[in-house]
């Protein structure tokens, strides 16, 4: 499936901003079942400097510096991506979760391929015993890792309520867990915390999911959204497999990966420093249009 993606982020400021330094992680990843046919980022006002480079995990990061005084910053990311994923292996054919844990210990590399990057706590995903205990129910001794992970994902979907009011971006994981609610970030972070608590490697994935309009209704322009899910490492043979706890779905051709990291902070689509004194408002519009 080929998608045309348009992702517009607009900041409006109530007083002029003299300068801004921003980090953009908006270019879809190439590889592992998706091929970027075309991608580009437009920025208004025009930056005085602009640099793009892959980060440690292979995400394309664009850094821009704007020196022109402005009241609105508009970042438009356009991409055309061909997605053809292999289907995931049968869950029962993956190695046991204990075996995977042992395998992590034997990987002899420090580069981005090493699953060991993804078993340790981070600022946003600390080790949290209640989340680990919750995850452990899906991983009785000897259970194949993918079977356990899928079960875990489904339980999150069942036990947690999707609720935009339940959390803020700053809400710590423990609170979202207690509240049994949140948005895709919270779902992904909780699933990652549980898996890592058991010593299983899990990455945070930012990306898009195609929304399929209800039967007979037309697709709504700009109504899509950026999304987040989890990749679980299922041993060297099966590798990384995507699971979406928000929708209880195994990742398929409806998903487009932008960036992977240890938590949201590694992949935040837009971050940076602006020199200003007033308030800022943020508007995001996303269009993921299947074109063939």
């Amino acid at each position: 499936m080929i998608y045309d993606i348009r992702h517009i982020t607009t900041y409006s400021y109530d007083s002029p901003v003299g300068s801004a330094l921003c980090t953009l992680r908006l270019s879809p990843r190439d590889g592992r079942g998706q091929h970027v046919l075309d991608s580009g980022i437009e920025i208004a006002p025009l930056p005085v400097s602009r640099m793009a480079r892959p980060d440690f995990f292979g995400n394309l990061v664009t850094t821009v510096r704007i020196e022109e005084s402005h009241r609105e910053l508009r970042v438009t990311s356009l991409a055309s991506v061909d997605v053809r994923r292999e289907s995931q292996p049968h869950a029962d054919l993956t190695p046991s979760w204990e075996e995977v844990r042992r395998e992590v210990a034997n990987v002899q590399t420090l580069d981005a391929r090493s699953p060991a990057h993804f078993i340790f706590p981070t600022k946003l995903v600390p080790l949290y015993d209640p989340a680990t205990d919750y995850a452990a129910l899906s991983f009785p001794p000897g259970r194949p890792v993918l079977a356990g992970a899928i079960d875990f994902m489904r339980r999150i979907r069942k036990d947690f309520r999707y609720d935009q009011e339940a959390t803020l971006i700053s809400t710590p994981l423990s609170e979202a867990f207690e509240a049994r609610g949140g948005v895709c970030q919270d779902f992904a972070h909780i699933m990652i915390a549980g898996l890592r608590g058991l010593g299983l490697p899990a990455t945070y994935v930012s990306g898009y999911i195609r929304t399929i309009p209800p039967e007979g209704k037309p697709r709504l322009e700009g109504a899509d959204a950026s999304h987040a899910w989890v990749n679980v490492w299922c041993g060297a043979d099966a590798g990384w497999l995507g699971l979406d706890p928000t929708n209880a779905l195994q990742v398929n051709d409806d998903f487009v990966e932008i960036a992977i990291g240890r938590d949201y902070a590694d992949v935040a689509p837009l971050d940076g420093i602006i020199l200003m004194s007033g308030k800022q408002t943020l508007k995001v519009s996303v269009d993921v249009k299947p074109v063939g």
């Binding site: 982020t9 992590v104 990057h117 078993i119 010593g199 899509d224 959204a225 950026s226 902070a265 800022q280």
Partner: protein, 847 residues
Amino acid sequence: MSERLKESLRRAESRGGRASVARQIENWIAGYDPILGVPDEFMDSDGVARQHWVKFFVALAKYSQKDLAQRFETADRLIRETGMSYRVYGETSERSWPLGRLPLLIDGAEWAGIERGVAQRAELWDRALADIYGEGRLVSEGVLPASAVLGSPDFIRPLHGVRPAGGRWLRFYAADIGRGPDGRWWVLGDRAQAPSGAGHALENRLVFTRVFANLYRDLNVDRLAGFFREFRAGLVAAATRSEPRICLLTPGPYSQTYYEQAYLARYLGFLLVEGGDLVVRDDKVHVRTIAGLKRADALLRRIDAEWCDPLELNAASQLGVPGMMESIRAGEVVVANMPGAGLVESRALLGYLQAMSHRLMGEELILPHIATWWCGGPNAIETVLSDFDNKAISGAFIDNPPGLDNGRAAIPSELDPGRRERLRRAIERRGVDYVGQEIVRLSTTPAWIDGSIQPRPFTLRVYAAATPDGWRVMPGGFCRMSDNIDARALSMGEGVTSADVWVLEDKPVEQTTLLATGDNVRIVRQLGNLPSRAADNLFWFGRYLERAEATLRLVRCYCTRVTESAPDGPSSARARLQTLLTPRRAEDEPDAPVTKSPAEIAAAALHDPRYISSGAALAHAARAAGSIIRERLSQDIWQILGDLEHRLAIPLPASPLPEAELIDRAEGALHTLSALSGLIQENFNRVAGWAFLDIGRRVERGIFTCALARMFADRDATADNLDVVLDLIDSQITYRSRYLVGVALAPVRDMALLDPNNPRSVAFQVQRISEHLAGLPTLRHDGMLEAPQRIARLLDADLSTAEAGKLDNAKILGFEQSLMSLAVAIEARYFLQGSNAVRAETPRGLA
């Protein structure tokens, strides 16, 4: 005391000591009783005193009791007065930092072994870091498990694959060591993030050398200065320019070790900068100075790596420099130590160090370290759990993994059964997060406790610096002694003192200081360019001092009038003074009482810190501004500043003080202030920094004098009112000598505002400010005046053409407002821009 100790004392005595010396020592050490089975620095296991200690005590005992007490007192005073402080994080005030009475003595021959061991370890870690961030052979060849590296929050991914400018990941390393039960020195931990304490070691030395100069000479104590000189030379050699600008990057005055950092910066001649002072352009790091951006070649980093660059590391950091990682990758800045070097502090690595040494150095480790099992490694978890109660359990990478919560090692046998079981389960679940370590009791050393000498456990931090000739180890170190005989409770918190560390040589040692030798020194009269932040704080330092002086003069003048005259009409001098003095509340103290009686008003104006215009508040503000530029203020200035605050920041008396006492206090503080002004006038180097300090004082003095003139020299001013003006501007005598007729409005106005020869007049202040501004660097190339100069020249012209007889309050207010806009223009032109850096709101997924 053992017979053999007595014997050695007798021998010392017969070598020219006096009988009183032996008695004195006997008194001191009568209760010295080392723990059985734990080595002691002073006495060996048979109770025989070691010779170097005997020599020291004999030398010490030659001072009379009284002399010794006085010297100890001097040491205490030096520590207090020079503001040596150890700031406990989160506290706004500083507390004096405890320095023990006795040094730790280490024999030169034994030291040589420590020196070799620490230098070897520094080199090993540097090579290990180069491998970990580079080829990764230790991991690919199976010497080191990947998880033992990647668990560290200090594995800084953006620097993977980078070759550091100057070639080294590590340039300043420290090892915490202690003497173990077998009598050997053991490494307890490694420090590479931003090792602290070296500055404290220098300070300790400074205090002790002033108090016990001859002891150092007689006992052949190794000097520290050479070490710092070579460290500096190492950084210079690593930079690409021949005269590099080196900055010490500090987290700022709220950091626990800020004073140490300021002290080191001053001692090493580095520019003390905060993240906000630096900016990256074209991949190069620059300092924001009053003359625009200036290249920074090398950084001595005291900010933890995570906070260094909000663009690539912790986005919430306000301490760092956006773009620093890119500059490092481009090889444009030397950083000591490189961000990411902190991973050598991971305890997980200790278990693999011997193998790493074989692989990278082809050598055995010279110094052993505490046996350590990383529970992520094969079989280690079984080793630790099978002997659980005899191990100390710590976090492998972070201090508080589940089951450990106070940041310290836990000894399972000392935990209650519930917590012990919880810890065991946590290790079973995720062994990678834990290490088990052998429990070691450390040796004890003599500590001075209430006039006698007692054994106390200690650790010693030893420093190594990369120099052009390889690693060099500081002969000495930072010794921390526990008040408690229980050796395992060591952390620089409650009840820990430090000690100077003496390495004793057989022969007299060479004297060295940071003074360079020979002819290779180029004469420099200006120390680079002044960072904007320093200029800002110097300016405010000057303004606060001047405000404090104004308050004190007002108090003195008011109290004098209160004692001389009864209250009278609202336009009387006394009433007007009272209005001026009636304190304004500080914004955060809206409930401070409004005082009524003259004595209460005056006392509050002197001492009540809740009022922003009180002497106490202003002295504190001056010291706070000063503390940010501490490396630029001499020890003398700092001392007097402390004295000033000490005089003013005292509790308000319960019952009102007599006016005479208040006058005395105001005068006392004024004397201190004039001593301070004298020092600044006489000893402050006349470079840009001085200009800003002086501009600050003069702007403030001009504004105050205008306000005085409006209040006391208005059209209806009485002779008494005019007298107040002359009093406050210190011009009584000049006036009387010039005008024999008595006080009149126009001459007083002339003297206060227009007379360019009166050093207290507004005109005089403006002329000096103009001169200062003309000497400062300019950013414009078109020959046009910059805003501050334009305002100052205009005001100067106004004042020099005005006539006293034609002035009115509106005109005087005009002068005052010009001075205020001059201050604003100076801030806008020279200081860091006022608007705040804010983090962009991050979008949140909606799906």
